[in-house]
């Protein structure tokens, strides 16, 4: 395997880590105003993700930094081309990040309500924008011969991208609701479980439609390989198994399956992309690829060494934090931190 392919896989892994981990805390953030009827319930919901959200978000920062280091042209074309969506993403992440810290610092109900809605908005915006960005990258966007994005903002809001946004947003909601169902007790737990059962069928439906559409729209049918069939099939399989566990009442296992579903959906997108990183809709030769977008072999080698040492360490200590905070959060005001 070449270094460039390896780095394509690393970037895929970093985004996968981001979607699986931050995915459930985005889902929880979106559900917050609807599942939390009073302040105490909302605090309980926020406390389920309180210790983790910041560490989860670093997966995105690292994915961004790693793209810059390994594929500077990808980073440059994507970030300048998707300027307005990324600006909206940043505003979302900003109001969300401070909401966690600010919400509990005043007792005024209006103050708390304001930050609850910031948390909601800041969770919803990325949940919609990321699938729009990635579906466009694989579908193809106007990129000229000089690697410059020449489309506008509304170019990105095509039916395929909106379908991706809807399918992924539902999946993230299911993911977040399953997380809540294993991290809370009482009324919230019951409501989360109800929601999970209700959402599941919708997710299966939308996911299948999205994956089938992807096969048609991305032109992957002309260059099928084992992985581009395997990953979508596994994705659908994982969400079906999640349904089985839901029926049996094994919500913890169902959550693991929604994790896997997200993993395979991301892998599917990246497999469809490979060996390109951003497809040009104007001329296939103008697409950014793992070759023409990449850094020098020296930099890739250096970054490989750093990543192979530190990524496992990060995984270990993040896993440890999930072990430390593995207990359910109860509706007991005295026991909540946020």
């Amino acid at each position: 395997m070449t270094l460039n392919t390896l780095w394509f896989i690393f970037i895929a892994i970093l985004y996968t880590g981001f979607f699986v981990l931050e995915g459930f805390d985005f889902g929880v953030g979106i559900l917050l105003p609807f599942l939390g009827k009073n302040d105490l319930q909302r605090r309980t919901i926020i406390n389920t993700i309180g210790p983790h959200w910041d560490g989860n978000e670093v997966w995105l920062i690292t994915a961004g930094g790693a793209t810059f280091a390994a594929f500077p042209n990808w980073y440059a074309t994507m970030f300048s081309g998707f300027y307005i969506p990324l600006f909206l993403l940043l505003i979302g992440l900003i109001i969300r990040g401070v909401a966690f810290e600010f919400r509990g610092k005043d007792d005024n109900p209006r103050w708390r309500n304001l930050w609850d809605w910031c948390l909601f908005t800041g969770s919803l915006v990325p949940t919609i924008l990321f699938p729009i960005a990635f579906s466009n990258m694989v579908r193809g966007v106007p990129i000229d011969a000089n690697m410059q994005y020449v489309g506008g903002f509304f170019n990105l809001l095509n039916p395929y991208a909106l379908l991706a946004a809807l399918a992924v947003a539902l999946l993230i909601l299911l993911h977040g609701a399953s997380f809540l169902s294993i991290k809370t007790t009482g009324e919230i737990e019951q409501k989360a479980k109800e929601l999970v059962r209700w959402l599941w069928l919708l997710v299966v439906l939308m996911l299948v439609i999205f994956l089938v559409t992807s096969f048609i729209i991305t032109g992957v049918l002309q260059r099928l390989n084992v992985l581009s069939i395997l990953f979508p099939v596994l994705g659908v399989l994982a969400v079906l198994v999640a349904g089985y566990f839901l029926r049996k009442g094994h919500f913890g296992r169902a959550f693991l399956m929604t994790c896997l579903t997200i993993v395979f959906v991301i892998f599917t997108i990246f497999t469809f992309l490979y060996p390109r990183v951003m497809v040009s809709s104007l001329n296939p030769d103008w697409s950014l690829t793992i070759q023409n977008a990449a850094s020098s072999a020296r930099t890739l080698r250096l970054m490989t060494i750093v990543t192979l040492i530190f990524l496992p360490i990060v995984l270990l200590y993040q896993a440890w934090t999930y072990w430390i905070f593995r207990k359910r959060i109860t509706n007991d005001a005295g026991k909540l931190t946020y």
């Binding site: 210790p51 992440l93 020296r298 750093v306 931190t337």
Partner: protein, 463 residues
Amino acid sequence: MDVLLLARIQFAITIIYHFFFVPLTLGLSLVVAILETIYVSSGKEIYKQLTKFWGKLLLINFAMGVVTGIVQEFQFGMSWSEYSRFVGDIFGAPLAIEALVAFFLESTFLGVWIFGWDKLSKGLHVTTMWLVAIGSHISAIWILIANAFMQHPVGYTITDGRAELTNFSQVIFNLPIFSHYPHVFSAGLVTVAFFMLGISAYHLLRHNEIDLFKPSFRIAAIIGVIGTIMVGVIGHTQGQEINQTQPMKLASLEALFNTENPASLSIITIKNPFTDELVLDLRIPGALSFMEYNRFTGEVKGINQLQAQYEGQYGAGDYVPPPVITYWSFRSMVGAGLLMILISLVALFIDLRDLYEKYPWFLKLLPFAIALPYLANTTGWILTEVGRFPWVVYGLVKLEAGVSKAVTSGMLLTSLIGFILVYGLLISTTVYLMLKFAKAGPAGALEVPEEFTPSIVNPPESQ
């Protein structure tokens, strides 16, 4: 307005805003780690209260640093994509390593620290704060390594129109990093010292919880004396380094229009912007040579000669950073720095002699002195960055060659207005909360019940 100007304004505003929070995080995370270490090793409850009180202010500050930091990482690609293409092979690596090695560490363990008071042993809990502090500093080092490449590019070769890495250890051990990190480190100490002095003085004046704020005041005064003197000494060596790496920056900040040997140090220089005539120019003969070479002779090049030299070297163009900005930001930084040395010494003296009751006016002054480190931190970076004009990467990429091509002025205007609005609302909120909790004192910090037993019950899998 044109894209370049808007992109510059946006970068300036967002980076200045971001760096408002960074030095306090660097200093305060260390102080909180030290306070908790004292609590763990001595078992004294008072240090636990101090840890929680200063820790709460750290958290508010930290959150702002995190969310404004993401903007910076994205902005290179968003508004400076051509710069990113040119330097990505070198500049991307420190940013990625920063995220992977440092940012994961600080963010993950801060979450554990906040929520882990009853879930971890005391020793493990204080370790998490140390990891947060260490993570913040490693983070600062990598960011400064990236910045050092912009100030003084090394370890690269130009291939296919971009800079490619040839020697990573040269990039890491780049000359500016040896003064920039110590400078930022000690600026962090100074910032936390004045932050703590101001808040402690406020409470001591009102006789609130004296047993808590006297130790805080003492710790802050000691850190203040060490930090302010350190920053001065390092700043001096940095001036000499700038003479080697960016002589134009030096000439500009000294308003030295023509080469001199021995070179004079400007006390005050004012130029009429319309006629270009010097209105006032008070200088100490030979003093600038002394600052640069530690002796009273030695040539320091002037703006006019350097401009001519660069035109020959890089072609026609303006190579003079606006002296009004560099000159006055340098003097604001140094002026604030000298004042802070004095204030720290007086504060330490007052504490050692227990003269709190005797000089209430000094204590009344201290809350306002919190502004001084912020003034110095901000003007220091303005000097460093504006002084690099017209280069994004010194000698390699000019500003206009770095800005994004796919971005229109309409987009930049939208985001600029958006950031100004959101950042404006957030700074008001942050100041409001800081004031609220600083004034409330430790009692306020303990509103949240500190001992909460593990929330029950069944591990996730059992239903």
